[in-house]
Amino acid sequence: MTTLAIERLGKTYANGTEALRNVSLLARSGEIVGLVGGSGCGKTTLLRLTAGLDRPSAGAIAIDGEPIAGTHPKVSAVFQEPRLLPWLTVAGNISFGGRRLPKAETARRVPLLLERIGLADYGARWPKDLSGGQQQRVAIARALIGHPEILLLDEPFSALDAFTRASLHDLLLSLWQELRPTILMVTHDVDEAVLLADRVVVMRPRPGRVQETMPIDLPRPRNRLAAAYDATRRNVLRAIDRSLRAEQPAQASAGGMSPWV
């Protein structure tokens, strides 16, 4: 079981934009951490750095105390878009995630996962034949076939309708309970964060920093209609409000110069 430690991470892009400043974060083994915050607060940047798709300008990322540079066998990801390879069948796409597994093991796991994501009869279909929600299910299966210890989710449900999203929440939670990966999830949906996460990290924009970290002490399975759920949700919303108000002065002066910004 694996701890993900992000220490004083900073990222400044080549064009001078400072996307992240001094971000530290600890995700304990098997924990779900939700990253929320306004646009431009560097949530996605943080995830890309953790996935090894971009290099940090400062700070370090460590898995179980061991610093990582670049992509890592223990780390897997689901993106905002399904990003399935259109020339591979559904089964082929799931196998694609099992690069590091022996072939026979991949072949054993694919049908199990297809069954698990409710697409048992779809293995030979093309991605184009699937709905958006089904494609995202395949992307989740692809990310989990290698039993990653750290799973990164970049707003994976944001493009889906409410019903599909709810069913994918259930799927994700049940797969998480089975495989227990540490999950770092970016979302702009507070409801989703409170429903899924053990801890919510609220970020503040320009440059992206951590505003505050809030534990979500609600028993699972969580009931969206419970009073405690609602109270927690409001707490997170208040924290987001605070994070946006904190940048207000800077924005006001910029607005004073140009009303169009």
Binding site: A51, G52, L53, T71, P73, V75, S76, A77, F79, E81, R83, L85, P86, W87, L88, F96, G97, R99, R100, W126, P127, K128, R142, G146
Partner: protein
């Protein structure tokens, strides 16, 4: 169709002269006569051999160089400006130098055809590789694929549709240049038949050769599409639904 019938009637009734614009029945007789003497077969075989070899050489070279410049920034900086400059030379302008270098026989003809095929295939391949979706490449990286496997398992299938389209336009140009090559001096081939018809004042021979060109071009393009169709079954495009 009705145009054909109208023309046939116009010539038969003496309303129009049939010498420069022979009616369909004459064309048919000419075609049959040419085929019966095996003359047509010889010309078709000669032309198709030239197109086949020229297309093969041009397509392989264009694909290989396009892949190289598409995959490597250094190769692109070194080679692409030169290739683009060469492309600016009208292909027919190469004929005199090819004849000096390669002689007046087959080699210079094949070189001209290969050159014509090369450019569209090269350009198609290069721009296709540069246009591959970064997001899909990232999927390969996250799941631990090496640069080479990403090239083989993501870039290559992603560029296939554009590559095949560029092969088709290359094939079209191959037919264009085989005519140019054969008009400039050949003892057989459909281009020679065109020239022969002109010199003998036989409009019917010329038109038969043109019709055969149309058939061969359409046929080989159809063959190319049919051969590559299984590679593109996954595509979600208008074409795949037609």
């Amino acid at each position: 169709m009705s145009l054909c019938v109208a023309w046939e009637l116009a010539v038969r009734s003496g309303l129009a002269p049939g010498r420069l614009m022979p009616p369909p029945s004459r064309l048919f007789h000419t075609a049959v006569a040419l085929a019966a003497s095996d003359e047509l077969q010889t010309h078709v075989a000669a032309t198709m051999t030239r197109v086949g070899i020229g297309f093969g050489v041009g397509a392989v070279a264009g694909t290989a160089l396009g892949m190289l410049t598409g995959a490597s920034t250094m190769a692109r900086r070194l080679l692409d400006p030169t290739v683009q400059a060469l492309r600016a030379i009208p292909s027919i302008a190469w004929v005199p130098i090819f004849i000096l270098w390669l002689g007046i026989f087959e080699t210079s003809k094949l070189a001209l055809i290969a050159l014509g095929v090369f450019f569209p295939v090269y350009l198609g391949m290069l721009s296709a590789i540069q246009g591959v979706d970064r997001k899909l490449i990232e999927v390969g990286r996250v799941f631990g694929f090496s640069s080479l496997s990403i090239m083989l398992r993501i870039t290559w299938p992603a560029v296939l549709p554009t590559w095949i389209a560029s092969l088709r336009s290359g094939l079209g140009l191959g037919f264009m240049f085989v005519v140019a090559a054969e008009l400039m001096g050949a003892s057989e081939g459909l281009g020679y038949l065109l020239l022969d018809g002109q010199q003998m004042g036989r409009a019917d021979t010329i038109l038969v050769a043109m019709i055969v060109f149309a058939l061969l071009g359409k046929l080989s393009d159809g063959l190319l599409v049919a051969l590559t169709a299984p590679l593109l079954r996954w595509q979600d495009t208008v074409r795949s639904q037609l």
